[in-house]
């Protein structure tokens, strides 16, 4: 047993309104620089859609994540033997065209343009070349299903659907969508770390945040291809890779990261998870169908004395252990089974979990009035009548398995009906209670889920122990030197080359 602590996250998709405030908060703090201007460490995608970079989920093309080969866990990108062959040219590296070419507008033309008959316009200019560009794509080009014949139709997850289901999904009368905010998952088994030729990417032992040491990175680009979520980015100006650092200077002092803090829908939760690092490899070797369970089994009970003892041996502080016992993430993922990791079949074991979007309720309507369910069958009927087929969500969150998604959705529907019965009173309490029981829930748990979903304050959503990393460092070494080694804050301009 090798118990480690991980700052983990839950995004509650039912609450996401797709406002992109998180993306902007992140952009303003971290990536508003030359070379990083095309990066969105946090982005919000519309699903169904092809996402950013386009079709990032297509691993046939991008070769991200892990595969089981000859009974061993291996990077999909390349075997260790053939590793260096790809160093001169990465065949699966997405180029700028797969993201978008960043641009701005020549605003000064509006003021300085010559006197003429027409209004002056601010033409778009590339932030790479400074020249005029014909904008062909941008981040969120397919926002809210914009251009869906091109984008939504090419969503990789649609391959899990039947032809009929696909047609239904994309016809105008039955369109459906939801938002998927994405950041680096700070995986327990990160493919980017394993692929880095220079060993520049590392996972911090204390909190599991994955960082790139900018002084060691040599720009070999393997990490960009190896990350199945495409959340490592290549800075074309400095020749170094960069990624989301989970705002660790904030997390270390007990504050939520910028994207979490600014979230308007309050969809984001952050807390500590304890996991058993010894079991990662065995878990990664399990077949697709068992991956959701295998992942949950990695996450251990913070109240178990054996777990606590092993964690202490690894130097996990009492403060962190206490936070782990109050972790909202643990409740969503383990206690309640509501939150699921994205694409578990990539076998990186993300530390970011999503509560799937329930979407609009589709109870039958008579004379313009929605009918409330009168039996348990009616409570759960929307699951299979929903516009968004369960198989789509299963492809996204269940490695193709519907059961874990159905379990979460069922519970949420049951709680929705239960609260309707207790708060509004137009649903039979007995029916609602039977629904709860069928969804493996009880009134007590329903109330807890309801409170953490709807009435959650700042302290409920973010249970982040201050790490006191700075104190620990000062004792050991020159703190400024240590800062450089942590991949942040070295006192040198991020200048290209010598």
């Amino acid at each position: 047993m090798d118990i480690r602590s991980q700052v983990a996250m839950v995004f509650h998709l039912d609450k996401c309104i797709g406002c992109h405030t998180c993306s902007i908060a992140c952009k303003n703090v971290w990536t508003d620089r030359k070379g990083a201007d095309y990066m969105w460490w946090n982005n919000v995608e519309t699903k169904p859609g092809t996402g950013y970079p386009t079709q990032w989920e297509n691993q046939e093309e991008y070769k991200g994540g892990w595969v089981v080969k000859d009974g061993k866990l291996q990077l999909r990108l390349t075997s260790k033997g053939k590793f260096l062959q790809k160093i001169f040219h990465q065949p699966s590296l997405p180029t700028m065209d797969e993201y978008y070419e960043p641009w701005t507008y020549r605003y000064e033309d509006l003021f300085n343009g010559p006197e003429q008959d027409d209004q002056p316009t601010a033409i778009p200019v590339s932030k790479v070349t400074g020249q005029y560009i014909d904008i062909e794509a941008g981040p969120n080009w397919d926002d809210d299903l914009g251009g869906s014949p091109l984008y939504a139709r090419n969503d990789v997850n649609l391959s899990a659907l039947s032809e009929e289901q696909r047609l239904q999904l994309l016809s105008i009368e039955t369109l459906v969508m939801f938002y998927l905010p994405r950041i680096c998952n700070h995986c327990a088994n990160p493919a980017c770390v394993a692929a880095c030729p220079s060993g520049a990417i590392y996972k911090r032992g204390e909190d599991g945040i994955v960082l790139i040491n900018q002084n060691v990175c040599r720009g070999w680009r393997y990490c960009v291809s190896a990350c199945p979520y495409k959340k490592v980015f290549y800075n074309w100006s400095t020749g170094k890779s960069e990624k989301c650092l989970l705002c660790y200077p904030r997390v270390e002092t007990g504050q939520a990261p910028a994207c979490f803090h600014s979230c308007v829908g309050r969809i984001r939760y952050m807390g500590v998870l304890l996991y058993d690092a010894d079991k990662i490899e065995a878990a990664g070797l399990r077949p697709d169908a068992e991956l959701v369970t295998a992942h949950r089994d990695l996450l251990v009970d913070p109240n178990d004395p054996a777990v606590i003892e092993s964690a202490r041996k690894n130097g996990v502080s009492e403060q962190v252990l206490k936070a782990a016992r109050q972790s909202p993430v643990y409740r969503f993922v383990k206690d309640w089974g509501l939150a699921l990791a994205p694409h578990p079949e990539y076998r990186t074991f993300p530390s970011l979990f999503y509560v799937p979007a329930l979407g609009p309720v589709t109870y039958s309507v008579e004379d313009g009035v929605a009918l409330n369910p009168t039996s348990t069958e009616e409570i759960f009927a929307p699951l299979d009548q929903a516009r968004l087929p369960m198989s789509y969500l299963a492809s996204l969150f269940g490695a193709g398995q519907e059961a874990p998604v159905r379990y979460a959705m069922k519970k949420m529907l049951a709680i929705r009906t239960w609260k309707r019965a207790t708060e509004v009173g137009d649903v039979d309490l007995k029916v609602a209670l039977a629904g709860l029981r069928e969804a493996d829930c009880d009134p007590e748990q329903a109330e807890a889920i309801y409170r953490l979903t709807s009435l959650c304050g700042f302290e409920d959503r973010f249970v982040i122990p201050a790490s006191h990393r700075e104190q620990a460092v000062e004792v050991l070494t020159n703190p400024l030197e240590r800062k450089g080694a942590a991949g942040f804050g070295f006192r040198e301009a991020p200048q290209r080359g010598f």
């Binding site: 260790k80 590793f83 260096l84 160093i87 001169f88 040219h89 990465q90 065949p91 590296l93 180029t95 700028m96 070419e101 790479v128 070349t129 020249q131 088994n189 990160p190 770390v193 394993a194 880095c196 030729p197 220079s198 060993g199 990417i201 590392y202 996972k203 911090r204 032992g205 204390e206 900018q214 002084n215 060691v216 990175c217 040599r218 720009g219 070999w220 680009r221 960009v224 290549y234 074309w236 100006s237 400095t238 020749g239 170094k240 130097g315 990393r469 620990a472 460092v473 050991l476 070295f490 040198e492 991020p494 200048q495 290209r496 080359g497 010598f498």
Partner: protein, 224 residues
């Protein structure tokens, strides 16, 4: 005098600067060590340019190094004409691959609008010198046969004399000027090494084969 300057002074200056500046740069400006890949901006022509160049030059360079370290072995191998032809043809074809590659890289530097943005004057100088180095090598290989023979008898001893700090430039005195220019541009490449993106050659990540797949760094315990 000129011979001493070009074939004794210059190589020492290049070599000493290469070693000292590379180490200083690695120590004081580690951030500047990068392959500075531009594949993200342009991938298709890089596939041909970079691929042909690297594979070609790796073989040619290892041939040179082999002849440098084991000149007798090359002479013994060349004892049979068929083996000599095989060696020379292999070397020449690899050099041609490298030539096509470096030309493709140069053209790409001038034609792609995005790659132009990340092209520094030194990048161009380096590419031109490399182009000259490969082209002059091919010229020498074709006109002054057989290079693998006289490299082992003249060039290798001369280079060793530099290493042993007892320079004997007279060893290469009888060689044609074209060959001497090939030497000079070779020393120029060494001189450029620490100042350009060529430093990526010094940090080829062979350690990857020996390291554990996951890197975990603990604040207290250090690397694990």
């Amino acid at each position: 005098m000129l011979t001493n300057f070009l074939f004794v002074g210059f190589p020492y200056v290049a070599l000493v600067l290469a070693i000292v500046v590379s180490i200083l740069r690695f120590t004081w400006r580690p951030f500047s060590y990068s392959s500075l890949s531009s594949q993200f901006l342009e991938s298709e022509s890089l596939f041909w340019g970079s691929g042909l160049w690297h594979w070609g030059i790796l073989w040619v360079l290892s041939g040179h190094l082999f002849a440098f370290f084991l000149p007798e072995a090359i002479l013994a191998w060349n004892a049979r004409p068929l083996r000599l032809y095989l060696l020379e043809i292999t070397g020449l074809s690899m050099a041609l691959l490298a030539l096509v590659g470096v030309v493709a890289l140069l053209v790409r530097r001038f034609t792609d609008r995005r790659v132009k943005v990340v092209t520094s004057p030194l990048d161009l100088v380096l590419l031109v010198v490399l182009l000259y180095q490969v082209a002059s090598g091919i010229d020498v290989a074709i006109r002054y046969r057989w290079g693998s023979a006289w490299f082992s008898t003249n060039a290798a001893p001369y280079l060793w004399s530099l290493i042993k700090l007892a320079p004997r430039p007279e060893l290469i005195a009888p060689l044609p000027w074209m060959v001497k220019l090939h030497f000079l541009s070779g020393f120029t490449v060494i001189l450029l090494l620490p100042f350009t993106r060529l430093v990526h050659f010094l940090v080829v990540p062979i350690w990857y084969y020996w390291r554990r797949p996951q890197v975990v760094i603990w604040n207290r315990k250090g690397l694990r």
